[in-house]
Subunit: 374 residues, 2 copies
């Protein structure tokens, strides 16, 4: 790692409780206390929320999507503004993904070779090309604090495809490291290998040998069982170096946070809080509520009487249901505020319990409350 | 006026400059400095904005719609919550209209008699009935600080219909006064009469004789010329008592505010700031901008570099256009913030210029900037 990166990017472990870790990630745009939940701002906006509202929610770091921003408004436009932080007016840390997951999700609209991926835009059908080099180049234009290696994301149960894809993902990881030129961004490697413990172990070992400043576990929460997901996390985290942050990509229900943190994960992201909000569902530590239900029409209580968010402090289920039935945008805003608060404050609570060496007791209580809602 | 109302509702003129007036309206939920622009929260929400954002915009008073709230969620539901202030978490003054304008806008879906209006819901076609008595009763359940008389709103150029309707509106005004029972609400009378100066004068004189605590001018901004509108305002305001607030209903472009205030109007409301925002148009004191235009794709400047709102302080036209093209809800929120700020701060600026006896100069400058955009 070059010297300037060492100065502006570091990870420090404050405490461990079992395998659960409390740490601090230092980036050019400030510190992030881990474990942390990162809300997703796919198109340079966390849907329906202003940056001021995200700051009020004590959000520490956002994720944004290279695939979407490359297509619209274009990486060059964002570069002209001095990067994503200025463009979207978010001056705390940002992480961008590499576009890998999105282009592999395009199905028939993409073609993969060892060189990279040719794909058609979901917006206008135009043809584009991502390579490890271009994915890094685009992310350098976007200017996030943390950028991700370009990887292949296979169906997790297909052994043969996962073996082939792993070779490519590893070769691409090396090419991404070669292509990287900005000293003020940290490039994370992505462990792949589907649900197969031996492939995951091989991937974790190989990527560790490349000495990335951080690692992520990719290709999960895409149809595998919770047991498979947790088994993969255990295998991988037993190999990844203690001194580097570990990011579980695209995963982030309350259950996932608790079980992931228990196994040594430091960072999570998920679109669920905002997507569920647009579909009228509130996430709580006692399960999900569908607020469009008639039973809430005259319910004077907040979504969650234990919750301290702006929505629960000020609005009733009845009012939220009214907004939903009247098709008012404010419904999405207020439920998104609550859902993001639920996850960011859960991560904060668990961090405190790690520092206090009470993680297991707290986790057991929380899981009991969550019932079967995962 | 009974004693408790006198205590909790009053209007005091601070200053006059020509016919322009600066005053203070005192209500049970606080003072309102006039002239004032009232944003519209049709369904108990100013579309896409939280009450916290409205407070940050220094909004002093909101308007909400009896017709919409009666249908959804129902006046009884809101009454159970102790009224609209609690239901929507807005603890400053609120004004509700009577539902008159909305039911008369239903066209074929309504039938008028001297008793009231039978109409079909625009939501589900169910049949309902508004009378002066029920319109007051519903507004008492909603619990706004200022409520409006139930009136008939004819096409403004139809002399014969306006004559007939005026008799009904006057009779209904008396019935509304009779029906009113809450001492903590002020009921305003509504002057009608289309574009006809003699009918408007007759209406202003009759309603003044009923001694309402405030008066509004209804039935404008519905297709008449600006000259007709301004002529009506002049005729009516020459008759209405100086000591009572005057509210020009449903009117509120920058041009309308300047010309209305010049003629002695104290209160305005209009859905335009939020409606235009949802259609990507920003209101400025130099005219309107359609932010979806390609010319803004790389425009680093704010909507209005003279504007101090959250949107103009933090976001570029390029970012706003990106949100619009990407169909992101945040576009509506950020442009609504700007548009409402433009109108509330214009009213505040004009108030200051009335107090400083500089209204005419300032108005002339502002109108020159507005060009022909009305």
């Amino acid at each position: 790692m070059d010297k300037s990166l060492q100065t502006c990017f570091s990870f420090r472990l404050n405490s461990k409780d079992g395998n659960a870790r409390a740490g601090i990630l230092t980036t050019p745009h400030g510190d992030v206390e881990t474990p942390v939940f990162m809300p997703v701002g796919t198109q340079a906006t966390v849907k329906s929320l202003t940056p001021a509202q995200l700051e009020e929610l004590k959000v520490q770091i956002l994720l944004s999507n290279t695939y979407h921003l490359y297509l619209r408004p274009g990486a060059d436009v964002i570069q002209e503004f001095g990067g994503l932080h200025n463009f979207m007016n978010w001056h705390k840390p940002i992480l961008t993904d590499s576009g890998g997951f999105q282009v592999f999700s395009l199905g028939n609209l993409r073609h993969v070779t060892d060189e990279g991926v040719v794909f058609k835009s979901h917006i206008d059908g135009s043809t584009h090309n991502f390579t490890p080099e271009s994915a890094v180049n685009i992310q350098e234009k976007l200017g996030a604090d943390i950028i991700m290696a370009f990887d292949e994301c296979p169906e997790p149960h297909d052994r043969r495809y996962n073996e082939q894809a792993l070779a490519r993902t590893h070769s691409w990881a090396q090419r991404c490291l070669q292509a990287k030129s900005r000293p003020d961004q940290a490039l994370f490697g992505i462990v792949q290998g589907g649900i197969f413990p031996d492939l995951r172990a091989r991937s974790a070992e190989f990527l560790t040998s490349l000495n990335f400043p951080g690692y992520s576990i990719g290709g999960l929460s895409v149809g595998e069982s919770k047991d498979d997901m947790l088994a993969v996390i255990e295998v991988v985290n037993a190999i990844l170096p203690e001194s580097k942050p570990r990011y579980l990509m695209g995963v982030g229900t309350p259950y996932d946070l608790i079980e992931g943190i228990r196994r040594g994960i430091d960072m999570f992201d998920c679109v669920l809080p905002t997507r569920l909000a647009r579909h009228h569902a509130a996430q709580t530590l006692q399960g999900r509520l569908n607020l469009s239900k008639a039973e809430y029409a005259r319910d004077n209580s907040p979504i969650d009487s234990d919750c301290g968010c702006y929505t629960c402090t000020n609005f009733s289920r009845s009012y939220l249901r009214h907004l939903i039935i009247a098709k008012e945008m404010l419904a999405s805003t207020l439920i998104s505020i609550h859902n993001i608060f639920t996850l960011t404050s859960l991560a904060r609570t668990l961090r405190k319990n790690i520092l206090d060496k009470r993680f297991d007791n707290t986790a057991a209580q929380l899981l009991a409350n969550l019932e079967k809602v995962k």
